[in-house]
């Protein structure tokens, strides 16, 4: 039982990380139908940014908000200079652009901040909490807690604020949204900024667990994308569910099947889900206009 609980905790912690990254994908996709492959880099920038600010002498509680602001700025720049000019291009072109952006961001960090890996201290220490014989690291609780708060906050934002509702409206039908006076371009900027902030937050919260380095964005971005797809694009809850599911599958595979093949198992399951549910677990089924 203790063993199962240990795998569960591990899966929840990792799953929460994937869920946060997947949420970032989901928000941008909802507003613009663009998959931002640079989302993983926002996560990396959050962690690396905080580390560098702290190395420069700033205390952690100043470095964190500052780092988040910087990442938001990067997100806005990305939208303005890389995505907006190519608004009407095809899916593939936008994929290449955002991948190019992720390479660029990685390259800049590589030169400016070096290639070493760094660690942020855990917020409330290292002593694990023992439940039922299994150890849960306190930082893991921070991540899961943050996920819960973020989901609740986003729900309130989308359903009860004008800006949030405007974003939702744009995701349902951009033309109609424009007709009622919503500036779609601003909505796009806001959604990139919001995703960047989410990504940065995820990076800062998880740096104590995963360690941060200039290239951690690649795999995290990939897993976050997988999480968003598994849950179904167009549904933020789906992204969260997808992320948690992915984390659990990985942990359970590592524990019970084979630690060497756990990633393969995860992807096989994702493929399986997609074969039977082509829009993911909770995705909105697309109607195609002829």
């Amino acid at each position: 039982m203790a063993e199962f609980l240990q795998f569960l905790f591990s899966g929840l912690t990792v799953g929460a990380i994937y869920a946060l990254v997947g949420l970032g994908f989901s928000i941008i996709y909802n507003a613009s139908h663009v998959i931002n492959f640079a989302q993983g880099e926002f996560v990396m920038l959050g962690g690396m940014g905080t580390v560098s600010l702290m190395l420069a002498g700033l205390p952690m509680y100043v470095a964190i908000p500052l780092a988040v602001c910087l990442v938001v700025a990067v997100g806005l720049l990305l939208e303005k200079f890389a995505v907006e000019p190519a608004r009407n291009a095809g899916v593939i072109t936008l994929i290449i652009i955002t991948i190019g952006a992720s390479i660029l961001i990685r390259g800049v960090v590589e030169v400016a901040l070096g290639k070493d890996f760094h660690r942020l201290p855990s917020f409330t220490g290292e002593t694990p909490i023992i439940i039922g014989g299994a150890a849960l690291q306190p930082q893991g609780l921070w991540v899961i807690g943050a996920l819960v708060i973020v989901v609740a906050a986003l729900r309130w934002f989308f359903e009860h604020t004008r800006l949030g509702k405007a974003i939702l409206a744009t995701s349902y039908n951009p033309l109609a949204a424009q007709l009622v006076g919503i500036d779609v371009r601003t909505i796009l900027l806001v959604s990139f900024g919001l995703s960047a902030a989410l990504g940065a937050l995820a990076g800062i919260l998880t740096a104590p667990i995963t360690l941060t380095k200039y290239d951690i964005g690649i795999m995290l971005g990939l897993k976050g994308f997988a999480a968003a797809i598994l849950g179904g694009l167009g549904s933020s809850y789906g992204a969260v569910a997808g992320g948690l599911a992915l984390g659990m599958i990985e942990a359970m595979s590592a524990g019970y099947i084979s630690s060497a093949y756990k990633d393969a198992v995860a992807f096989v399951i994702i493929l399986g889900v997609l074969f039977f549910m082509p829009s993911g677990l909770f995705g909105t089924r697309r109607t195609e206009r002829v």
């Binding site: 390479i103 195609e288 002829v290």
Partner: protein, 339 residues
Amino acid sequence: MQRPGGSLQSGFSAKDIGAAGAARGVAWLLTARHGGILALVALLLALPLFLPNNFYYDIAIKTALNAIVCVGLNLLIGYAGQISLGHAGFFALGAYASAILTSHYRWPGLLAMAAGALGVALVAFLVARPILRLRGHYLAMATLGLGIIISIVINREIPLTGGPDGMSVPALRIWDWRLTGAVTWYWISAGALVLAVWVSLNLVESPVGRALRALHGSEIAAETAGIEISRYKVLVFVVSAVFASIAGSLFAHAERFVTPVEAGFLRSIEFVTMVVLGGMASTFGALVGATILTVLPQVLTAFHDYKHVVLGAIMIGVMIFMPRGLVPTLMSLWRRRAP
């Protein structure tokens, strides 16, 4: 004045016929199918004059093999309008099939290559139908997942594949000849490339190609018009996978060494970028894209630490300013200039 019954009526002299004949000849040459291939052959014949040593030949070989993959991938992405972020998996399967069969089981090289291509065709056929039901980003994810699964299996099955460190590959033997050396492989790769381009161009201009383009335009409309879209999608997916597999097999014998990196996600992205950069729905665009992205890393070594910054900037820049890719954009600019 034209009267039914032929042009040898009054009003047309021999000179006119000659001129008409010449015009038709030029038109024949200018079509992509004939003029393009001739230009390509001429280029490949002339290129060795500019290659001073084996290092350059090696780059040329890699370019040609990448181009073969891209030509196939272009059929899928450019003409049929599907996405594949996992094609490096097929490339690697072909490479490893050749490596394993010739190294562990001592099969003749060509047989191994054929077996690899057949195996890949089978795999592609089996996954094509369920995968190609997906659209857009879901399709991207499914192909991505496929590529990653292939990559993981190659990495883990160490006794068979040598694992992450790769395995060495014996030279290709055809009857009594042992094919090694950069120059030999240049000619082999060049020949394979010309063949691939010829097949691709013919496919595009055949009824299959027309069906594909209809599919790309609107799947539902195409289906309404009587085209069995899933059949054609599967066909082009399998064909592009086989192209990649054969290129992979050739690569294995040319480089004499394969590693699982060939199956990786980053390699798949490289191939897609080559196709998109050069120009989708353009066979020669795929060639240009492959050339640029194979040669570019060598040029970028001059930038040392900044190479990723430069690469990312180039990708973004080209896609923003030339979203249809280099060749179509340049060709439309050229056409606009003509009177």
